[in-house]
Amino acid sequence: MGLKIKNQVIYNIVAFFLNQMHELGVTENIVNIALAKAGEAQANKVVQINLVVGELSGFVPDCIQFYFDSLSKDTIVQGAVLHFESVPTQLRCRICSTIFHPQDTLWSCPKCGGQSVEIFKGRELYIESMEVE
């Protein structure tokens, strides 16, 4: 096991016991939504949950997966594959309206050089769809 992976595992375990992350509550929501939607669809099993996560949102897929494995136990969601679709950050320049992916930490507009921007995409966190049986 590489040091980086090992550290990540230790970090996740520590985070779990100290409840230091906000992914726990978020993962609870994911499980609850999945259970409700599967119930509505009269499904027996949830095979995959397709999540959309913005690059700027402060949620870590690995961490959600970690909590998901324990929170989904003994439910029809247990064992479901969490598929994360990452949405790259897109900013809109307030001066010239150009939409762009930030190239530098200052979020400067590549067209006019302006530094007045609003977030167009990248803060998403939602369940897009599910595959059920």
């Binding site: 992350m21 509550g25 939504i33 530094q115 966190l125 939602y126 769809s129 599910m130």
Partner: protein, 224 residues
């Protein structure tokens, strides 16, 4: 196997409770401010200064959010109308206050006797930006020793702020903090935010900040 469309915001559960909190606050004519910053930037000091500055003008209650301890609640309790301490250590989330924590804290508050509720969030520039509490205004404090690059490193929390405070102005001669660069970053990310430069140590700039709060409370009251 079949695919079902969901399209449901995962944070909706928090947002639903937040809007319930907002309704309850509005019903009792309580104006709520969510105060966020990194640890040590001066959230408690700002609350203490605000309590003093608005004494006799507004009845103020405080919700203190910390991972552990009642240190902050003890500091503010003599001046505040009511104080509730939330310790997040044993909660599902400890890195930020959540709407559900505020909902339960509001049950212990004499809401009819309160005009202004100051909510001190957990010291953190990342997580609180994801969770609304039902507040009317969001305020972020940056202090000079932290450096002027915080809006660049943690843009989300500054983008959603209604006011940004630059605290510890008394330290300006001793630290390399470029006020103009910081203000330019805020202007770029969030041109609507009010920016205040103050020192909770010397009280410089506090009056201006307190006037802003009074005005917000008044404006909100006339809107209802």
């Amino acid at each position: 196997m079949k695919k079902i469309e969901v399209i449901q915001n995962v944070l909706e559960a928090n947002e639903t409770i937040a809007s319930r909190n907002r309704q309850l606050l509005d019903k009792h004519k309580v104006f709520a401010i969510n105060i966020m910053s990194a640890p040590g930037a001066g959230k408690t000091s700002l609350i203490l200064q605000t309590l003093t500055g608005l004494k006799g003008r507004l009845n103020i209650a405080v919700i203190e959010g910390d991972v552990a301890s009642t240190v902050d609640a003890e500091k503010v309790q003599s001046e505040a109308k009511a104080v509730v301490q939330i310790n997040t250590l044993n909660m599902p989330e400890s890195c930020s206050l959540m709407a559900a924590m505020i909902e339960s804290a509001l049950k212990d508050m004499p809401l009819d006797n309160i005009d202004l509720l100051l909510i001190e969030n957990v010291g953190n520039l990342i997580c609180p930006s994801e969770f609304t509490l039902g507040e009317h205004k969001r305020v972020v404090i940056s202090s000079l020793p932290e450096g002027d690059d915080k809006p660049i490193k943690y843009p989300l929390i500054f983008i959603d702020a209604d006011a940004v405070i630059i605290n510890k102005m008394d330290l300006l001669p001793h630290v390399d903090f470029d006020i103009a660069a910081f203000r330019r970053s805020i202007e770029g990310l969030n041109p609507k935010a009010a920016v205040f430069q103050l020192s909770c140590k010397t009280s410089e700039g506090i009056e201006k900040w307190c006037s802003w709060i009074s005005k917000q409370v008044e404006t909100n009251a006339t809107k209802r």
